[in-house]
Subunit: 275 residues, 2 copies
């Protein structure tokens, strides 16, 4: 029997992160649930699992700040990206009718993605730490006037009922995950590279930093700023670009960026997710 | 008696946003609490208040996504910025001892800013919609093993006790607020301008857009990307720069940006907050 691949994720069984694990590693993967994103990083760092899967951004709600901050501190490498189509369900006890629901529990990102639906329903929203955990809570406490937003699979796991399916405001709802390991991936010809850098605060600093990519026609797929947490209004930039860090042009650009920046941290190069 | 200035804010009395109102408008201001940030925008748009004060970013936790998304849709102008030093307190019932606390309620941003303190305390964190609202909840429900993270003033309002003060992980903890009105501010010589723009996805697009500022030595104080919510992995850029939109150089740069961008929306020009 082949060795099963153990993959850490944050949340309860039925979480979208667990779906991402199966989508990427196949049905023989062994997802290992951890309470926090920090725990997922630690499990990979200490070799208790083979890989970790963490959400990095959602196409509607934007970046997952905690993941960005953990990536800055960790020595782990990004070795793959996963894009998961998110289909949210409103989940309650069997027999609950939609019009009886007064309170809806879910992760703030999921509540944000269903803002329009929840407004029309006129319910009170209660943010909690994860989506499948909300289903578990409504189930455990036997709450009849409450529901949770989570995946269909979370409803199945707890024997709960889907009251409404596909309740997200926009169908272009994808979450992007990083697969973390101790090394990144070899070039495939269709790769991306993620990095973090910081610049001195002076006119044109970001412009001159981006020059190293523009002059080489390297496409940036994402740029995001995050506070450094050291000094107020000082930012690190998180950048994704097309190409592998071992591609000669990308390698050249990154060396030139190194000379212009206060620091550059390469998070890893990995094959682009299929779109 | 002079007319009192009515200013909408999101949250309960004792919220940091209410403190920001007093810091900017003085003790005679009349803060008006609203449940959501959307309600604050609406109250100003419909003339039910003179101004609105909304959080836009925190120096540790980064941008407030909901405010960014509302600014994109609204016709209101940014007419001032406020920087408020945030000092978080752990607040419980009089008589509660720190070691009895098992659950801590607060806004996700506040929990994030006290991550280190909460980890050492070993408590369960429960995110809720606002900080002062957490104090009100612990008070109303008479919870003895629970506490909330909020301002000292929130403790005073509900007759609750400060169990620990200054519990934020970093003292460089400031929240920046925008003052919203129907028009922006006149030039003072020490101004900032905020805008949103979108670009076609092609190599060098952001680089060429930033060129309009770099060649004129216009300093950018902040750049942030946000999903457009129309198409997956398409972003709008939120930019703050030094200067007033009526300054000849800034005016020139913005006209040139208009030619390069899919759209440019000027949120307003306003005096820089004192630092």
């Amino acid at each position: 029997m082949p060795k099963r691949i153990r993959v850490a994720f944050q949340g309860e069984p039925g979480a979208y992160s667990e779906q991402a694990v199966y989508q990427h590693f196949g049905p023989t993967a062994e997802p290992a649930p951890y309470p926090t994103l920090g725990d997922v990083f630690q499990a990979v760092e200490e070799g208790r699992v083979d890989y970790g899967v963490v959400p990095v951004e959602n196409s509607l709600e934007g970046g997952v700040n905690e993941t960005y901050d953990l990536l800055l501190q960790s020595s782990l490498k990004v070795r793959a990206e996963i894009e998961l189509r998110i289909i949210h369900c409103l989940i309650g006890h069997p027999g609950t009718r939609l019009e009886e629901v007064e309170v809806v529990y879910s992760h703030p990102q999921a509540l944000g993605q269903c803002r329009g639906f929840l407004r029309r329903l006129g319910v009170r929203q209660v943010p909690i730490y994860d989506t499948a955990g909300g289903v578990k809570m409504v189930w455990e406490r036997g709450l009849k006037n409450a529901a949770a937003i989570a995946s269909k699979r979370a409803a199945e796991i707890y024997g709960m009922m889907v009251l409404a399916e596909g309740i997200e405001d926009h169908k272009e709802n994808y979450t992007r995950f990083f697969v973390l390991g101790t090394a990144d991936a070899q070039p495939t010809g269709r790769d991306k590279t993620s990095l973090i850098f910081a610049l001195k605060d002076r006119p044109g600093a970001l412009y001159h930093a981006l020059e190293v990519f523009a002059t080489r026609q390297i496409n940036l797929t994402k740029i995001q700023s995050r506070p450094t947490r050291r000094k107020a209004w000082e930012y690190n930039f998180y950048l994704d670009l097309e190409g592998h860090r071992l591609d000669p042009l990308v390698d050249e650009a990154l060396k030139e960026l190194n000379e212009k920046a206060i620091f550059v941290k390469i998070l890893g190069s990995y094959p682009r997710a299929n779109q």
